[in-house]
C-alpha cells in the first residue's frame, strides 16, 4: 500500500518537507510530489479524462508551489492540496466548456445533458473505465461525491450548480454506471 493510501494518507505531512519547500527547497518539494502524485493524478484522470490528466497534474503541482505560502497548517497538507487540485481541475474544465460553447451554436450546458451510452454492453466494464464514459457533468459530481467524499453543498459551491442539480447528476451517474459495470441478468 502506497503512502498516499495508507492510514496516514492526508493526515500529517512531515513538517520538515513543507517548511523546507516553503523556503525554496525544490528537493523537499519533490518528496511532497512523490507522496501525493498518485492521488492527484487519479483525481485529475477521473474528473477530466485520461488525456488531460498528465498536464493537469503538472499544473496542480506548479500551482501548489506558487501557493505554498498560503498553507497555514489549519488542515492536513494532503487535504489542502486536494482542495487546491479540485479547484485547478474545475477551473480548467470551465475554461474548456467556455471555449467549446464559443465554437458551437447550440451551447447546451454540460450539466443538463446526461445521456446513457447508446449500446448496451455485453461485457462487464471496470468502474474506472465506466467513469470515463460518463458525460462531464454527472462524471464530476460522481467523482467528487462517491469517490472523493464531498457533500452536495460543497459540490454545488465548487461547480456553481444547485444542490438539487448535484443530486440529480449523481443519481444519473450511478444508474448509468450500474448499467455499464453490472453483468446483464435474465429478467
Amino acid at each position: 500500500m502506497s503512502p498516499e493510501e495508507g492510514p496516514l494518507a492526508g493526515r500529517t505531512e512531515p513538517d520538515e518537507d513543507v517548511s523546507r519547500a516553503l523556503a525554496g527547497d525544490v528537493g523537499a518539494f519533490e518528496r511532497i510530489y512523490h507522496r501525493h502524485v498518485s492521488r492527484v493524478h487519479s483525481l485529475a484522470r477521473r474528473m477530466a479524462g485520461p488525456d488531460a490528466a498528465d498536464e493537469l497534474t503538472q499544473d496542480i503541482f506548479v500551482r501548489t508551489w506558487q501557493k505554498l505560502a498560503s498553507f497555514r497548517g489549519e488542515a492536513a497538507f494532503g487535504t489542502w492540496l486536494h482542495r487546491l487540485a479540485v479547484n485547478v481541475i474545475i477551473e480548467r474544465l470551465r475554461r474548456a466548456t467556455l471555449e467549446r460553447s464559443r465554437r458551437v451554436d447550440d451551447s447546451t450546458s454540460a450539466y443538463e445533458t446526461a445521456e446513457a451510452p447508446s449500446a448496451a454492453p455485453t461485457l462487464r466494464m471496470g468502474l474506472d473505465a465506466a467513469i470515463d464514459r460518463l458525460p462531464p457533468g454527472s462524471r464530476q459530481v460522481f467523482v467528487l461525491y462517491d469517490v472523493e467524499g464531498h457533500t452536495h453543498p460543497e459540490i454545488a459551491a465548487l461547480l456553481g450548480i444547485s444542490i438539487g442539480t448535484s443530486k440529480t447528476q449523481l443519481h444519473r451517474a450511478r444508474l448509468t454506471l450500474r448499467r455499464l459495470v453490472s453483468p446483464p441478468r435474465e429478467s
Partner: protein, 224 residues
Amino acid sequence: MTDDTWTDRLPAYLDDDLSPAGRLEMERHLVDCADCRQALADLRALVAEARRLPSTPPVRNLWPAIEAAVGPSSSRATPVWRRRMSLPVPVAIAAGVVLAVTSALGVWTLMYRPAPAADVAAAAAVEAPVLRPAFLAPVPYGHAVDDLLTALAARRDQMDPRTVQVLERSLTTIDSAIADAMAVLAEQPDDLALVARVAEQRRLKLSVLRRFEKLSVSNLENAQ
C-alpha cells in the same frame, strides 16, 4: 408506476433522500420486486467500490517538467522572484514547448534575429493593438504580434487542431513568462538582465508566431 420509475428512485432511496412517504412506498415495493432489490444491491456495491478506488501514479514521470517550472534548488536567502525568474527556466519551458512542436511537425530550426534596441524599449510599454500590414518592416513588436495573431486567427479553422493546440500552449507559456518578468521589472526597473530576458522572450514569441504563420500559409496553399 413503471419499473424504470422505481429504479430511477433507487439512488435517492440509497441516500435517504426520499420523503418519509416516498421511503415507505419504496420499501413496500422492494418486498415484492426482485429486480429492484437486485438493482439496489448493485448500486450499494457500486458506491462501496467507488469509495475504495485506488490511486495510481501516472505512467510517465511528470516531475522533470514540474521541476523546470518551479526552478532550481535555492536557499531562503534568494528572493522568490529571482528564483522564479532565473534563466533558463522561462526560456527552457518555452523552448521545450517549441522544440516539441518542431519534432511533431518535422525538422525546423528556431532562428533568432536580434531586435533593434528601439523595439525592446518600445516593447516595455503596453500598446493598444493597431493593425498594420505585416510586410511593412520594421514595425514595433506590438504591431507585429497583433498582425500575426490576426492572420493566424483568420486561418484557425483551416489548421490542424493539434497544431492550433500546440501553438496556443506555446503562447500561453511564453506569455506567462513575459508577464512574470514584467511584474518584477515594474518593481526593479533598473535590472538590465531582466530587461534582456523580457526582450528574449518577446523575440521568441515573434519567432514562434512567424513560423506558425508560414506553416498556416503553406497549409492553405497545399489545400487549394
